[in-house]
Symmetry: C2
Subunit: 355 residues, 2 copies
Amino acid sequence: MSKARINGLRWKRKRAKHHVTIREVAKAARASVSTVSAAVNNSDYVSPNMRSRIEEAIKALRYRPNDLARGLRLQTTHSIAIVVPDLSNNFYIELVRGAKDYSASANYTVLIGDSRDNWEEERNYLDSFHRRRVDGVVRVPAVNAAGGKARSILGNLPVVYADRHPLVRDSYVGRVGVDNARAAESATRYLLSLGHRHIGVITGDPSSGTSVDRVEGFTRALRSAKIRPDRSLIHTGHNDMESGHFHAMQLLTGARRPTAIFCTNNMMALGALAAIQEIGLACPQDISLLGFDDFYWATLLRPRLTVVRQPAREIGMLAARLLIDHIDGRPSVPSPALLETQLIVRDSCCPPKKE
Amino acid sequence: MSKARINGLRWKRKRAKHHVTIREVAKAARASVSTVSAAVNNSDYVSPNMRSRIEEAIKALRYRPNDLARGLRLQTTHSIAIVVPDLSNNFYIELVRGAKDYSASANYTVLIGDSRDNWEEERNYLDSFHRRRVDGVVRVPAVNAAGGKARSILGNLPVVYADRHPLVRDSYVGRVGVDNARAAESATRYLLSLGHRHIGVITGDPSSGTSVDRVEGFTRALRSAKIRPDRSLIHTGHNDMESGHFHAMQLLTGARRPTAIFCTNNMMALGALAAIQEIGLACPQDISLLGFDDFYWATLLRPRLTVVRQPAREIGMLAARLLIDHIDGRPSVPSPALLETQLIVRDSCCPPKKE
DNA sequence: GCTATTTCCCGAAACGTTTTGGCTCGCGTG
DNA sequence: CACGCGAGCCAAAACGTTTCGGGAAATAGC
């Protein structure tokens, strides 16, 4: 026992900075540790007198409860994590903010991960979040992350998928996004209605699920207009500006230049726009451009981009809701929750030139 | 003792999901807890035989150490936090990524906060990070956050300031950014060299420090060119698009329209550009526009924006370095670390029209 | 063969909380 | 007066780690 005491002392001395503990508050307030605990979690009986003494001590000592100890004892941290593929993509920022705002309203804190659409990075984040014992995670998986991989590092943490969903079977408690096929289909119909018949597509990595759905919607629209999809006009990129640029170049300088390009995410639309400008084509007169995902400065571009808008913030909020409801053992909204998209018509599409 | 056992059992039963602990690994590997610990932290003596048995058990049980317990025992979490004012501003994303990358290389994890340039939000984040017992925080304070306020909730956590710095005296272990006055001065000189004499300025909230420095640099340039600064041309906004738009409108429709506008951050430059386009002025022929902070799609704008570029990523890396060096008790680089800015000349500035 | 040293392993304490059960008053009730 | 009861408080156990001191067995030194 006395050995222990000495040990303890040495410990304290070793750390330069010392965090004030509930024990010191107790001493200062002439109360027991349990009473202080009861007071800060304002539950149980604690007399007004005692309570004020404790609050005073807390203020005086600047006591902040230690969430590590708390989480350890409680076996729950009241926090969730969200990991997205690209924080520089405004769509995901909005998604994260939605998740954060909902979580805050439900008294959960959220940890943010930015995987750069790269499984290694995502794994690091998921691992770190798991070790921190978050109560659940909302996940927008990186493209090269098959569902099973994540499951193995996540143990049996509840996860809800947002935006993208896993292609392989993975157990999750919820999923929220949009009906990508339908959104792409109606976007394509818009292009068709303008008179376009040769439409190029720049799509993202098929492993993300959303991309294939969007291409699927695209071809569906073509087919229902009795147009045979031309596989050579469908290019597969990587959801970033570079590959948008690259494939737009291919498309624009290819044998049969399309009269319109449909990009299945905003970054690739940006890259395509750069390519168009670089080549010196007029958009939309020479080539129409249709993007996916809106962003706040889309109207600053010339031409102002026509896009299909996803309710990013709502997706994030709903994802957090699904997750937290599950954690708290509450029934929630029905799960594959598909929100409405909206075609925002601006200036980047017009009828094709007559030839 | 037997009572305790019962209690423990009840505990286990209560939690639906159960995380596997080091104790179970020990049992499975027929080793003691301390030996397993020694093995996972691969230190100390542990025989090859025993080690492999333990590793096998770990793999079989999918054991993940509990960082809460670890942090509690170690009195350090090997993690830092970074809180920035606006994640949708690409400058801060790059800064965060820089901090993250450096931290990863130093084996630290980082928690991210997005204060929306709002002290309430920032306080919540700082508090949450503090309760999580991060080892330090790099902070880009919200505009309405005087230094003292944060100190009181941060206790004696080491903080390094990035980009912005506190106006009031606050104790910090480091600060990194750019020489804002000098950067603004040389940017202004560029405008002067083009022949501009009436230059409007849209600046951010003075409480952030950087704004006043930039204005200071601006006036310095004017003065050294023997031009008397016109206070009515210096407008104070809020670092966001809306106020950039608003004040550009004021400037452009005011009595004496300037021939150039200098915005002290990128968001306001965007807002100003929107205003210019809205009014129907030609940029740069009618009005030159000069922004602060580069961003990856600045070249997609028409005109391509001329800006003074800050090395956002490097700022983040250096901030993390300063902080982590301090935490680890290592000497670091000299503190107010001022990195070089760079004027990126593109198309948004030209000589003013002769009148 | 006896001791000194190394090698390998373990028990127990501690980190800062929350919770449970129990203790002590003081008071009303039969 | 005995008794129960509720209010207010507390001691101690537990959460999952790491570390420290020490012990047993094997090895080396003489």
